[in-house]
Structures are given as structure tokens and as C-alpha cells.
């Protein structure tokens, strides 16, 4: 019963050569997924919101709802 001599050296190097490219690739994938899944939609949502935003109209709506302390609702 003679077994083959097991690998005695280069174990860390072998592990790194296998795992480091995978780690790099997965990190890039994670970053890309976050960019195109979260940040780009968010930027678009903000852009779309402010394209249609009428500042004065919103201010008057909030004022009439009574949430401001500096101005009372119109007609008081």
C-alpha cells in the first residue's frame, strides 16, 4: 500500500491563483450591480422628480396644510 506523496509546497500560491481572480471578478460584479441597480435608478428618479417640480405650487400646498410656523395658511 504505497500512496502518492501529497503536495508539500506551494499550497498558498495554488489557493491564491484560484481564488484571487474569482474574488476580483465577483467584487467588480458587485460594484457594477450596485451602480446599475441602485445609483443610476436613483439619479434618474431625482432627475424625473425635479423636472416636473413646481416649487411655488408645492409650497402653497404645504402652507395650506398648516405645517409651517413662519407662514399661516392662506386666509387666516
Amino acid at each position: 500500500m504505497s500512496l502518492a506523496k501529497p503536495a508539500m509546497r506551494g499550497l498558498l500560491g495554488k489557493r491564491l491563483r484560484f481564488h484571487l481572480p474569482i474574488a476580483f471578478a465577483l467584487s467588480l460584479v458587485a460594484a457594477a450591480a450596485f451602480k446599475y441597480g441602485v445609483t443610476e435608478p436613483r439619479k434618474q428618479a431625482y432627475a424625473d422628480f425635479y423636472k416636473q417640480y413646481d416649487t411655488t405650487k408645492e409650497f402653497n400646498n404645504m402652507r395650506d396644510a398648516g405645517v409651517f410656523e413662519s407662514v399661516r395658511p392662506t386666509g387666516e
Binding site: R42, E58, N61, M62, A65, G66, V67
Partner: protein, 185 residues
Amino acid sequence: MVVRVLNLNQMLHLTAGRVGGLFSRRAVVGLTNSGARMSSHHEVSDQVDMSQPMYWDRLDTPLPDRAWIDVLDSKDKSLKQKEKGPWTALSKEEKIALYRLKFNHTYPEMKKPSHEWKTVIGGMFIFFGITGLVVFWQGHYVYPPQPHTFGEEWQAKQIQRMLDMRVNPIEGFSAKWDYKNKQWK
């Protein structure tokens, strides 16, 4: 320096080592509390002599200080003599017998799974249950009345005020409210 790694069973039975006469140079490891504990014992238990080399079955420390079977009968003694010669002369059964003299359990036998996990999980759930009862009793008898801000009416007024203030109108709270039709989107 030899570090002795003990399991719990050995630690419970520590006792003063035998001092082998005036010529012994071995350190005597004694624990006086073992005497007090033994006086209330109703059964006789083995006391491990910690000053002698010990045997252990451990996955992480494979070679103990002494062999499993120390006192050899004549058959074992003759086998041990044969071991001093070339090992190719030993038969398979003799090699296994020599292994069993030296070691108690093999690695697979040491690693054999037990039913302990059922006790652990069962005990866990029992204590979860007791804790649940304690928490329920506490909620009923200990907690003070809830603040008035937790009531239904107050919560509704709070939500209306948040919508009036346009809290998070782009991606959050007010973004989900349809201001034209006065309902949730």
C-alpha cells in the same frame, strides 16, 4: 515544557501524585479541594494521577504521552518483540493488534457522531419556552401603559402630517402617496 491538555473528566479527578520515595524528582501536582469534594461522593470514582504520563484520544493532538495498553501479557510482549524487527514480517492482524495496543479509538471512531445534538436542541427550545412565558408575564404585570402617541387616532394624524410635510417625496414615504386621488399608490 510539556503542556498537558486535559478534558473535563480528567480535571474532575485530579489528585496528588504519588511521590516515588526520596529519589523522585517528579513534580507533585496536588489539588486539595478534590479531597473535600470526594468526601460527599457516594460512589467510588477513578482518580487520575496527574504526575504520570497520560493517554488521550484527541483529534487535534494525535500522539499521547503513553500507549493505551501499558501492562502487557506474555502474548503482547512477544508481539512487541517482533515489532522490533522488520515490519514487513508482521501480518495484517499483528499490525492491527499493535495499533490497538497503542491506541484506544481510531480517528473514525473518535469522530463518530453522537445523539447529543438532540439534547442540545431540545434544551434550547425548553429554555425558549420558559423565556417566552417570562416575557408574556412581564408584558402583562410589569410594563407601564403605552404612551398616548401609540393610539390609532394619533398614528393617523401623524401619518397625515408626514404627508403634508412631503417627507421623502422622491423615493420614500410621500412618493408612495397619490396626492391627486388622496390614496396610496
